[in-house]
């Protein structure tokens, strides 16, 4: 504080602004905005009128009426019922979306698990382990995903044995069969009293949660540690197990059986699905591993040193101190990776996996020719997915920012 401030401040006289039409900021900003909007509107009008004219000249149909007209082609992989000639283009669109989401969903789960694992290995004290993880990351990051997908499809899953020489990968129980037509899985058929088993499992889980809480409370008040691992495991395994046995094992399997030249029964996925799944998981695991590594490194080293000095084991330091603090740095890049997984699943088109781009934007478009509508619908689907994911990401970011110091 100086003496001057204690004086009464002089009444400031604002210099009178002269309004100059060409120099005024508001006028200029309004002018530029109107100009841009005008150019944009003209561009849109130009494109639309050209398109309308071209569509007319070529005699192409427009409008969304085709969604209800029947499509004449079949797809080899679908999650909902569809008969060619009867099913509509709308149904084709839904089949494509479901196939995209299915492969993305499993790829996201696999790549996240694998990515976390490799990201942690990358920071291992063991020199060899960290170098092997590094090699994994660098190799799969620097090879185009499309080459990897095509390689897995042509070089691996198409070269599997023929149907006659199917490989059993479920240790002789014939529940998982792999051949060059895809993967055949046994499907569980639920008996009449099977619903009791999940209920028992839910009970067991709530029991375990209760047990843990109680143990925590005891530790907080008395400092005594109670081992909860064994009782929890016993509860989770035994309660549903006994229920299952007591109700008379109400579960049977719909097994894939060789019938003539192919397997019938069970569920099957085509080789293209497997190739896309494996390639996406491996490629995105490399990206997620880097995100995990960067996130873990962003945690101040003092945190893990302090944790070590109060006597925590190094595995607990990782899981209880470092990873929770690294999460805010890991989650955003990881989620944008998930988004990329959904987008990259469109590369299934190169190996004939019937996802939304190949089914709707290629096959259906070639058949029906509603170019503008079909391209628009497919893009709208991807935009919807992206917006949904970034909506949740924003919520997460807000929550994390609140607890940040």
């Amino acid at each position: 504080m100086t003496d001057e401030t204690s004086d009464k401040p002089m009444a400031r006289v604002r210099p009178k602004e002269e309004f100059n039409f060409f120099q005024d900021q508001r006028v200029r900003s309004a002018f530029y905005q109107i100009l841009t909007a005008g150019i944009f509107a003209w561009l849109i009008w130009y494109l639309v009128s050209n398109t309308a004219h071209n569509l007319e000249v070529r005699g192409m149909n427009t409008g969304f009426g085709f969604v209800n007209s029947s499509a004449g082609f079949d797809t080899d992989f679908k999650l909902i019922d569809y008969t060619p000639g009867v099913g509509t283009y709308g149904r084709i669109f839904v089949i494509g979306i479901l196939n995209t989401l299915l492969v993305s969903f499993f790829a996201i789960i696999l790549s996240t698990i694998l990515g976390f694992f490799i990201g942690v290995l990358r920071l291992s004290n063991n020199w060899l382990v960290s170098k092997v993880a590094l090699a994994y990351v660098e190799i799969f990051r620097n090879i185009p995903l499309l080459i990897q997908i095509v390689f897995w499809y042509i070089g691996v899953f198409s070269l599997l044995p023929v149907v006659k020489k199917t490989i059993d990968i479920s240790l002789g129980t014939e529940m998982l069969l792999l051949n060059n037509r895809g993967l055949y899985m046994a499907t569980p058929i639920l008996g009449s009293l099977f619903w009791l088993t999940p209920i028992a499992l839910a009970l067991a889980i709530s029991g375990v949660i209760f047990l843990r809480r109680k143990a925590h409370k005891i530790q907080d008040t008395t400092g005594m540690q109670i081992k909860t691992l064994l009782p929890s495991l016993a509860l989770i395994i035994l309660l549903p197990g006994i229920t299952f046995l007591a109700t008379g094992m109400p579960l049977s399997w719909d097994m894939p059986v060789l019938d003539g030249f192919n397997f019938v029964g069970g569920t099957s996925v085509p080789p293209a699905f497997l190739a896309l799944l494996v390639a996406l998981s491996i490629y995105h695991a490399a990206q997620i591993a880097e995100a995990v590594r960067a996130g873990i490194l962003s945690v101040n080293i003092g945190q893990s040193e302090a944790a070590l000095s109060i006597g925590l084991k190094s595995s607990r330091v990782m899981s209880m101190v470092v990873i929770p603090q690294a999460m805010p740095a890991i989650v955003p890049p990881m989620i944008s990776n998930w988004m990329n997984t959904v987008k990259n699943s469109s590369l299934g088109i190169a190996i004939g996996y019937s996802e939304v781009v190949s089914l709707f934007m290629q096959t259906a478009l070639n058949q029906a020719g509603y170019a503008v509508e079909m391209v628009g619908m497919t893009m709208a689907f991807y935009m919807f997915v992206s917006l949904t994911i970034s909506f949740f990401l924003n919520i997460y970011n807000k929550r994390v920012q609140l607890v940040e110091r």
Binding site: T51, N126, N142, P144, S346, V357
Partner: protein, 442 residues
């Protein structure tokens, strides 16, 4: 009585356990039982992988054969590289006429020479060098690659490119020998160092005009035969698409990023929606849009060829990603820089062009290299819509009669090629990042 040692105790060397190879091994590989087991397991996995790859790809592989049958006759378990070697020209140049391949090579050499000064610390005027590459190289390279008749505009641009290249080379020599910019060097040579600025400028302009005239007369003398774009292919096409893509998406990205940060609502909303739309859809949908919808957008009778459609799609798509890179770079510039520029009375464009962008671009170089890697990898997608880029060529080997069914080896060769390209570039961008952040003041 005190015993005081007068001389300094000699430094003891670090314990052998810490410094020797054994110490290193113990610390990094065998520090505990678990670690030892892990090391052994990893060694085993590495051994299996490396030996498997070595036996398949090298020891048992066939390098010289006329067809796939001969490969099998040689060995059943090894790779058949002979097919890839046979197709090597196709993989690199596509179906470009074999006697014209020198044009592609010269074009590549020209680019390397043109850009070389950027890596020489003694050469002045790097920004201009970079700008001339972006502005002039495409014309001369475009003519080299596609050939045919030169229109008047093309002749002008080719002559300008030749002049720009010559000036660039002269500038490089001046920089390397005298550590001077070319203009200073010429003025010195002519002994006009003390002449007024205006005279100096007139001398330089006169020389440039003379050089332009000479180049124009010279280029009228030569033509190369036309090669249709349908003959372009292989790695050449991949590099053309990604090169044009990155060069054009940078200015586009800068404009979009500035628009996104603009105070003018209309501009901001337009830019944000443009960026977000293209960033939320996969590239393949944009490519399909380009091939199915661009023909509808054009006025009747105006036909874009597929290559142009694809390149426009790649530019649109990549500009949006570049906009985010630029935005990140702009956000890294402290507010004080804007305020400082404002205080000395610079307007928006001068603030951006003279103060903010030069700093931001410097920090963005590693990320730009990163997005170039991404674009290079993404360019393989054009094979899906039927262009014969490198992946398209690799996949068509298996349809060639002598090599029918040869799938794995070409793909692995392509993977190795991409790995080398992308890995070295990413290492380089990492190096740049370190180098640039070392010079950072704050």
């Amino acid at each position: 009585m005190a015993i005081i040692k007068a001389e300094k105790t000699p430094d003891r060397s670090a314990p052998l356990f810490e410094t020797s190879v054994i110490g290193w091994l113990h610390k990094n590989l065998f520090s505990s039982v678990f670690n030892t087991l892990l090391t052994i397991l990893m060694l085993y996995i590495v051994y299996l992988t490396v030996s498997g790859v070595f036996v398949w790809g090298f020891a048992d592989a066939t390098f010289v054969a006329e067809n796939r049958r001969e490969c099998y006759d040689n060995s059943l378990t090894g790779a058949c590289w002979a097919g890839v070697i046979h197709w090597l020209d196709n993989i690199f140049y596509g179906r470009y006429p074999r006697d014209q391949i020198w044009r592609i090579n010269y074009g590549a050499l020209l680019l390397v020479l043109w850009m070389a000064p950027l890596w020489m610390s003694r050469v002045k005027g790097k920004v201009l060098v970079g700008a001339t590459v972006v502005v002039f190289y495409p014309f001369i390279a475009g003519y080299l690659f596609s050939g045919g008749d030169k229109g008047f505009f093309m002749q002008l641009m080719i002559a300008s490119s030749i002049v720009a290249f010559a000036i660039n080379m002269a500038n490089m020599i001046a920089g390397l020998t005298k550590s001077l910019g070319l203009n200073a060097f010429i003025i010195q040579m002519l002994g006009q160092t003390n002449a007024p600025d205006k005279t100096q400028r007139n001398i330089l302009l006169l020389l440039t005009a003379l050089a332009f005239g000479a180049a124009y007369l010279w280029q009228m003398g030569w033509t190369v035969e036309g090669v249709s774009w349908t003959k372009w292919g292989g790695l050449f096409l991949t590099l053309v698409i990604s090169g044009i893509g990155i060069a054009s998406s940078l200015p586009g990205g800068i404009i979009l990023a500035l628009g996104r940060r603009s105070k003018l609502t209309v501009i901001r909303v337009l830019c944000v929606s443009f960026i977000e739309v293209f960033r939320s859809v996969p590239l393949i949908t944009v490519l399909f849009m380009a091939t199915t919808m661009f023909p509808l957008f054009m006025p009747e009778g105006f036909v874009l060829n597929k290559l142009v459609q694809v390149i426009i799609a790649v530019i649109l798509f990549n500009a949006c990603y570049m906009a985010e890179t630029v935005r990140a770079g702009l956000q890294a510039i402290p507010r004080g820089q804007y305020e400082g520029a404002h205080t000395i009375g610079l307007g928006y464009w001068k603030t951006m062009g003279l103060v903010i962008m030069p700093q931001a671009l410097k920090h963005m170089i590693p990320n730009i290299v990163g997005s170039f890697i991404g674009l290079l990898k993404d360019t393989t997608l054009v094979s899906i819509i039927g262009l014969f880029d490198i992946l398209g060529m690799l996949r068509s080997i298996s349809k060639d009669v002598p090599w029918i069914g040869l799938h794995k080896e070409p793909l692995i060769f392509g993977a190795i090629l991409f790995f080398i390209l992308c890995f070295s570039m990413s290492k380089y961008s990492r190096h740049l990042e370190v180098k640039l952040s070392a010079g950072k003041q704050h």
